[in-house]
């Protein structure tokens, strides 16, 4: 599969500050790629460099085979962009905005269909400055699609949307993927990234800390499945003495499982010991768990060791 975006050793400096510090990744054609990171991680700077809106300090960037800073004139007819915190001309309506873009891009666009796609039909003729924040975002998505782009940059397109509208945008993204387009998505909603993305990169402090499919990232950086027990404190000591990896978490005891069958054995051991317990459940890491662990890890500029278990071989 060819790459729509290729980023190699990308650096962006502001004086002494390196906002983006040697980033490498690529986005394959036809995939939904999510670019995640906490505020100030270098995420928006990287995206704006890819969109041709910001000049890089060093490194190589190719978007659809073009240098976005130098070749923006050629690139902009092939990409669609919904910027973070989208704004438009305050006195124009969504319909007028789509018409303006369609004429500039010299495209024939069914305004009603596009407005319906982003669930903005009922506000088609309302002026932008009377629309809500969520409706602004929907209009941004609609405008990004006017030129029938091969690659869509959607920078936090669902921020501020209610759950129904958010799911409508999810459907748009799935539809774009279904049509063979590439989607470069940034979002603060990790559930959204997990559901929609083929692959993900996580950036922190200007560096990529993880890249892969959501499952790969969870497998690689997440902890094993755990049995979570709520009961008396002696439970932890008892289980640790059996050589199990035990951690305490918010008053509960978590025991790492090698396999599902381990859970049955542990529960039998507890029953036999006579120690009191109130409830149990099994738990796996989500992308959000992994994200928080990775971002937390990088706070000192390096990857720390795994959480220290109380027992184990």
């Amino acid at each position: 599969m060819s790459a729509s975006v290729e980023v190699s050793r990308l650096v962006k400096s502001y004086g002494a500050l390196r906002a983006v510090d040697g980033v490498d990744f690529d986005v394959r054609s036809g995939e939904v790629f999510s670019f995640l990171g906490p505020n100030g991680a270098g995420k928006t700077t990287t995206v704006e460099i890819l969109e041709g809106l910001r000049r890089r300090t060093a490194g190589d960037v190719r978007v659809l085979g073009l240098d976005p800073w130098i070749d923006l004139a050629r690139l902009r007819t092939r990409i669609g962009v919904t910027p973070q915190d989208f704004h438009f001309f305050p006195k124009l309506t969504p319909r007028e905005g789509i018409r303006l873009y369609a004429r500039l891009f010299e495209r024939k666009v069914d305004e009603d269909e596009l407005l319906a796609l982003v669930q903005l039909s009922d506000k088609a003729d309302d002026r932008y400055d009377t629309l809500s924040g969520g409706q602004h975002q929907k209009m941004g998505v609609a405008l990004a699609l006017v030129n029938d782009p091969e690659l869509c940059f959607l920078d936090e397109p669902t921020t501020g949307l209610d759950p129904r509208a958010r799911r409508a945008i999810w459907e748009v993204i799935r539809r774009l993927k279904g049509e063979g387009r590439t989607v470069f998505l940034t979002t603060h909603y990790l559930e959204e990234a997990q559901q929609l993305s083929d692959r993900i990169s996580i950036i922190n402090l200007g560096r990529i800390v993880a890249t892969g499919s959501p499952d790969e990232i969870i497998r690689r950086f997440g902890r094993p499945e755990r049995l979570r027990l709520v009961g008396e404190s002696a439970l932890a000591d008892r289980l640790a003495s059996l050589g199990l990896r035990v951690t305490r978490d918010d008053g509960a005891v978590e025991v790492e499982l090698g396999s599902k069958a381990d859970a049955l054995q542990i529960l039998e051991t507890i029953r036999a010991s006579g120690l009191k317990w109130e409830s149990f459940s099994t738990r796996s890491d989500t992308l959000e768990d992994v994200f928080i662990r990775l971002v937390g890890r990088m706070e000192n500029g390096s990857l720390p060791a795994e959480p220290e278990p109380e027992g184990g071989p």
């Binding site: 704006e48 809106l53 000049r55 902009r76 305050p90 303006l100 500039l104 002026r127």
Partner: protein, 366 residues
Amino acid sequence: MKFRNVVTYLPAFAKGYIRNPLGLFFALVFPVILILIFGSVFASSGSSPVPLTVQNLDHNSATSVAFLSALNATGAVSLSFVSPSAGNLSSYLKANSLSAGLVIPDGFASDVANRTPVDLTVYTNPAAGAEAGIVEGAVAGAANAMNLRLAGGSEVVTPEFETVGGPLYKYIDYLVPGLIGFSVLVSPMFSMVNISSTWKRDKLFRQLSLTPLTRAEWLTATLLWYVSLACLSAVLMVLLGQALFGAHVTLTLLALPFLVVAPILFVSLGLLAGSVSTQPESAGVVGNIITFPMMFLSGTFFPVALFPSWLVPVAHVLPLFYVIDGLNSAMVYNNPTEVYTDLVIVVVVALVLAVAATRLFRWRED
């Protein structure tokens, strides 16, 4: 540059402008209000005779009536009469809020016949300086003419009064070009300061940079809009000035270059003011600091010739002064030489500002 993109974007910009009541107000409505107010207030200046209240205590003697006829014939004053029984004229004038009066004393005719010096008492209000001067000059002129005739002399040297350029110019004639200049200044300046700062904050320029519209096309469309507004404003001001106040102004081709170049100048200046500021609020302050002194010190509402001498050099460094001076030369005096001088200055300043604005005003960030 694709002209197609210019004509595609222009209606969108125009819609945004027209749907913003504040923009249209400053571009068209406010100058109309100003011409109505100033035109009405100063409608009489420079042409109408000054009212003069006369108390003839000489029982309407033939000599006093002849003197008053001569005074009336000057056209500088319009006489109204008050009865001798009204008492002291000064008190009468004060009680009736009148600013000028003349008393013909009892025995005026006999004193004149006997060649006995006789005093005419003229009351004027120092607060109405121009009117006081007119009354004093008219009465003195009529008295001198009477003295000359009594001495058996005749006028050898007589002044012929004309106004500069030919016809009798009035305040409204200077006001119309001034208000066109006001409109040409205010509309692009306020609008561009606002646009360049808020659009930058809202990243709208970056949004546009992702469309096929280029900076040059955007700027051309914007300039076309403000040139159209300037022309519309000029037509409106001239028609109103002529229809309501009889202004002696004509829309000539000589004025057209100013209506094209001045918007370029002030759009560039507005872009610069907005570009150097990081926040729309501070951009607004910078815009006001530039706009307001220019608005009042460039001869917009009053000719610069009336300014105190120390203020005149200040007016001469303001580009709007040359726009208004040029419009005056074109529309009032029809003086091409003066027009070209002003136009050269306006074009040079516009070019410098346009180049500076183009360099500083960027859509993308390094």
